[in-house]
Amino acid sequence: MKYEVLVEVRLRSGIADPQGATIERALPALGFEGVDDVHVGKAFRLSIEASDEDGAYARGTEMAQRLLANPVIEDSTVTVIGPVESVSSAAPLTSSAVSTGNAVSTGNGAG
């Protein structure tokens, strides 16, 4: 069984994110007021072979920790979108934040 998995990687809280800060400052120029906590990161979409969604989540998490993110400066979030066959209609089945380093992922990325 293959599962579509989304791995999102972004700078850990406390690490300066000048791209996010610049975009945050640019948005009001287009009339988008009231936007804060803008963060820039990377997203990876993977089709992962696994026996079930927990297995896909576990494998995606290990990939995030060992390669896709650098735990010194980045956190990652792994989301199992669903079985590859029904991705277009499926709602996320499993979603939870995982920290690739010692720090806890903050969720809303304050900092």
């Binding site: 700078l11 300066a16 791209q19 610049t22 650098n70 010194v72 400066i73």
Partner: protein, 231 residues
């Protein structure tokens, strides 16, 4: 016998010839410098190894993130653990941090600018293979050429680097936001050094500075010392 120094070539490296040429300035009686393809699985016979600057594996994912999977890196880890002199310059420094041979990480420069300029750096320890022949506190003028040179690590690691005398070079005027002005660090033993400035580009009066020679001289001395140790 001349010390044999290998300069590793990854797909996308672009400073390997500069390093070989700079090491050649020490003369063929002292140094036998040549290229080592990243697919090599052995570094036997080398007295020092340099990871040069460039964009190993295109810097895909993150600088150094994929280079650490090159076959030569397993041999390099063993070589380093055995006390072999290893120097990573610029992208080579990024590769060493991603491979876990040096602590910390190199993130994007403060201000998100690619920097191509000459900076002042100070020698902060002489216990390493790259600074053994330098004077403590010596001020060097060296070129930098990077987008991701902003060294960072967690506070505990920084404390350990300071306590263990592992900060090798500091910028005299911080160009990129590096933590504690760090331009180069080493491992516990001082035989693995990473630095963002390019000593190989400061080895000829025509390039305005020959201060790089003072660092490479240390590497040549360390390599010569290793060449004399019976295997």
């Amino acid at each position: 016998m001349a010390a044999k120094i290998g300069v590793v070539v990854f797909p996308g490296s672009n400073c390997e010839h500069d390093v070989v040429k700079a090491l050649g300035l020490f003369g063929s009686s002292r140094v036998d410098a040549g290229l080592v393809w990243h697919g090599e699985r052995s570094l036997a016979g080398y007295d020092a190894v340099v990871l040069p600057g460039g964009f190993a594996h295109g810097d895909y994912l993150r600088p150094g993130a994929l280079a650490r999977f090159s076959p030569v890196m397993e041999a390099l880890a063993k070589y380093a653990a055995d006390g072999g002199p290893v120097v990573g310059i610029c992208n080579g420094f990024q590769v060493l941090t991603e491979a876990g041979l040096l602590p910390g990480a190199l993130q994007k420069n403060r201000g998100l600018r690619f920097l191509c300029t000459t900076v002042g750096v100070e020698v902060c320890t002489t216990r390493t293979v790259l600074t053994g022949e330098s004077d403590l506190g010596a001020q060097l003028s060296l070129p930098i050429n990077h987008f991701e040179g902003n060294f960072t690590c967690d506070p505990a690691t920084l404390e350990r680097l300071r306590a263990e005398d592992r900060i090798v070079l500091r910028y005299t005027a911080n160009p990129n936001g590096s933590l504690d002005d760090i331009a180069g660090v080493c491992n516990e033993e001082g035989n693995v050094v990473g630095l963002m400035p390019h000593p190989e580009r400061a080895c000829d009066a025509l390039t305005a500075s020959t201060d790089g020679m003072r660092l490479l001289e240390s590497l040549v001395v360390a390599a010569t010392r290793r060449a004399q140790v019976p295997v």
